[in-house]
Amino acid sequence: MADTDSVQTAKPGHGNSGFVRLIRDGHNLQTIATLMVLTLMCVLFAVLSDRFLTASNFQNIMRNAAPLIIASCGMTAVMIARGLDLSVGSVLAAASVLAASLAVAGVPLYAAFVLGILFGGGVGLINGTIIAKLSVSPIIVTLGMLNIARGVAYLITPSAILVGLPRNWSDLGTSKLAGLPMPIVIAIVVACLFHVIMSYSTFGKRIYAIGGNEEAARLSGINVPRALILLYVLCGTTAAIAGIVLSSRVGAGDPNIGVGFELQVIAAVIIGGTSLSGGEGRIIGTVIGALIIAVLGNGLNLAGVEPFWQWVAQGIVLIAAIIIDRQVQDGMRNVKKG
């Protein structure tokens, strides 16, 4: 809802400078602030390590960030509608080991990938149906699904890590398209797709409306349960895609992957400016939020920070990122008023 308003307010003209025009839109403001935090971090790490600003490290960061970006896109849509999906880390693991076990069993590789992704969508369908039709809290439902999906992942794999994967299993995670590693290409495609859905489609506008005021959305004729179910299907699907990309990259079907991943995804979405109370958020912000998390992990390693201090530094930087983000926004609002 707020997003469609913002599209209307961000009109060119009125005699102001381009910068002021740009920040007239509250969401642009948010995105710029998050981008500034990312830039600041990049500058800091470039000073701390001469290996940070290199083309190969850029690819490394993007490769590491790709699964997070992919899963965060689905989560952004869910959180804009005032929902939450805590099961993404486990769905990621279950979908990837399912695809891996099918590939080991002789199913053609891309058919195995598709079945893994369908599994993720199916889990999302169950989540969404229980949440939307039975009005159960999304936290409870997806917390339960977190355990179920992890259990399924362990049940699928007879010896904890699948062995005997086809040689081309790693191709998706390690090959390149037009010079870009495939995980990055997939992340870009997913992010663009979600950006279009959320910013330009009727469905996207309905999501913002549901997140802004669910009752008003219902009264205005939006089929809220159907939209919510679809959202959770999308979220499960993106988690599964992320799982297959990650699993292909590490070259193994491992049910232990993605433990705690849901927290990273939620952090990326919130850093990216999506409100926990729903109705606000943008895919581009989420992508930047995911990059902030990826750059932070990478930069601390490159700077040679001791592992225990990395835990402390990550916590401090994430809190600082949110504070700076809010401060910059306030400052820009003042510019806008002036």
Partner: protein, 376 residues
């Protein structure tokens, strides 16, 4: 015509290159077999290893009580009893194999077995102790997650009248009969084997080490320091470029290893503190286009099934591995628990299990897997 000649020449060059590359890779595997030994090496230059900390996990020493702990007995005192087995986490191949071995023993010796999964979580292990007490077994094979926390946990079970034997991680105090491994010397042998292989293959090229670590556990620190002691015993001028926290799981290890290789592209030796760590590092090398036996050497400990295909591969830089033996742990714990139930073992009884180095040959890998990770 000229174009055809050029094509032919190009194709021949590619074929020749491939043959040379394959030959070199095959040489690498043969070299790893040649330089393999199951003996601990002594430092060529004691000064090179002087600053490496010694082991912290085996504070009661590494002598085993006398007995045939590693063979299956004719009969067991556990027959007809109710036994609780706890594991750190069934999600890892090692503990899954332990659970499988115990189930087979339960059938063979006819006792009731209940498995409790700690899920690698301190809170879950704490709750699990209450569940074990409620189950009221005759005997408990307990896998602590943390040395210090294990002391009151074992004490509580003993206060409830349960017979407890710990295995894997050793409690920080002497509270129960225990089975543990020498976490320093096992990885030290891996370091020796990796060092010998490195020296034979790369000669005087400087060895720069990266470690995919998990600094939270003292047992793991022993693994790391043991490896470094062994490697520097053979290659005294090797240097450690970086140690990163790989979380002991493959996805986090992969990201950490990728960053480490970015920060230190000169690294040519990687030690993974477990198989997830080395598999993550190998995936990072693959993504960076460096996955080759000519890159350097990757070494680790665990000996689980997935790493065996790397160890036996001509292309893979994984060339040294010591096993953390699930069958040996199982049978030693089973025998010690039987002895404890029969009143033949007390809290001062300990069994120390070895970290057998795995020969990177087809036979070496097969014999290891057949004994420790048998397929049904």
């Amino acid at each position: 015509m000229n174009r055809n000649v050029l094509r032919l020449a190009g194709a021949s060059a590619i074929a020749l290159g491939a043959m040379i590359s394959t030959a070199l890779a095959e040489d690498a595997t043969a070299l790893a077999v040649q330089t393999f030994s199951d003996e601990v090496c002594e430092p060529a230059d004691p000064a090179a290893v002087a600053d490496i900390p010694s082991g912290v996990s085996g504070f009661t020493g590494y002598d085993s009580a006398p007995g045939a702990w590693l063979s299956e007995p004719e009969a067991s005192a556990l027959t007809g009893k109710r036994v609780a087995l706890t594991v750190m986490g069934l999600g890892q191949p090692y503990f899954l194999a332990i659970s499988g071995h115990w189930k087979r023993l339960a059938e063979k010796y006819d006792f009731e077995l209940r498995v409790f999964d700690g899920r690698f979580d301190a809170g879950t292990v704490q709750r699990l102790v209450d569940d074990v007490i409620s189950y009221a077994p005759d005997a408990v094979a307990f896998a602590p997650l943390d040395s210090a926390a294990a002391v009151p946990q074992v004490q509580r079970m003993k206060n409830e009248g349960l017979t407890v034997v710990t295995y894997n991680v050793q409690p920080a105090e002497v509270v129960a009969p225990r089975v543990f491994a020498n976490d320093y010397d096992g990885p030290r042998i891996v370091g020796c084997n990796a060092g010998r292989y490195y020296k034979a293959k790369f000669g005087d090229e400087p060895a720069i080490i990266g470690v995919v670590d998990f600094p939270q556990l003292p047992q793991v620190q022993d693994r790391r320091n043991g490896f470094l002691y062994g490697f520097l015993s053979i290659v005294p001028d090797a240097t450690v470029a970086q140690m990163v926290d790989g979380g002991a799981v493959i996805d986090k290890a992969n990201a950490a290893a990728s960053d480490m290789l970015q920060a230190n592209p000169e690294i040519n030796v990687i030690f993974g503190i477990n198989n997830d760590s080395s598999l993550g590092a190998l995936a990072a090398l693959r993504a960076a286009g460096s996955y080759s036996s000519d890159w350097g050497v990757v070494a680790s400990v665990d000996g689980s099934e997935p790493i065996m295909s790397e160890l036996g591969s001509d292309e893979s830089p994984q060339k040294a591995e010591s096993g953390y033996p699930p069958y040996d742990f199982t049978i030693a714990t089973f025998n010690l628990l039987g002895a404890a139930v029969a009143g033949e073992a007390d809290e001062n009884t300990q069994v120390v299990v070895g970290y057998p180095p795995i020969a990177p040959s087809e036979d070496g890998i097969k014999s290891w897997l057949d004994r420790q990770y048998p397929r049904d």
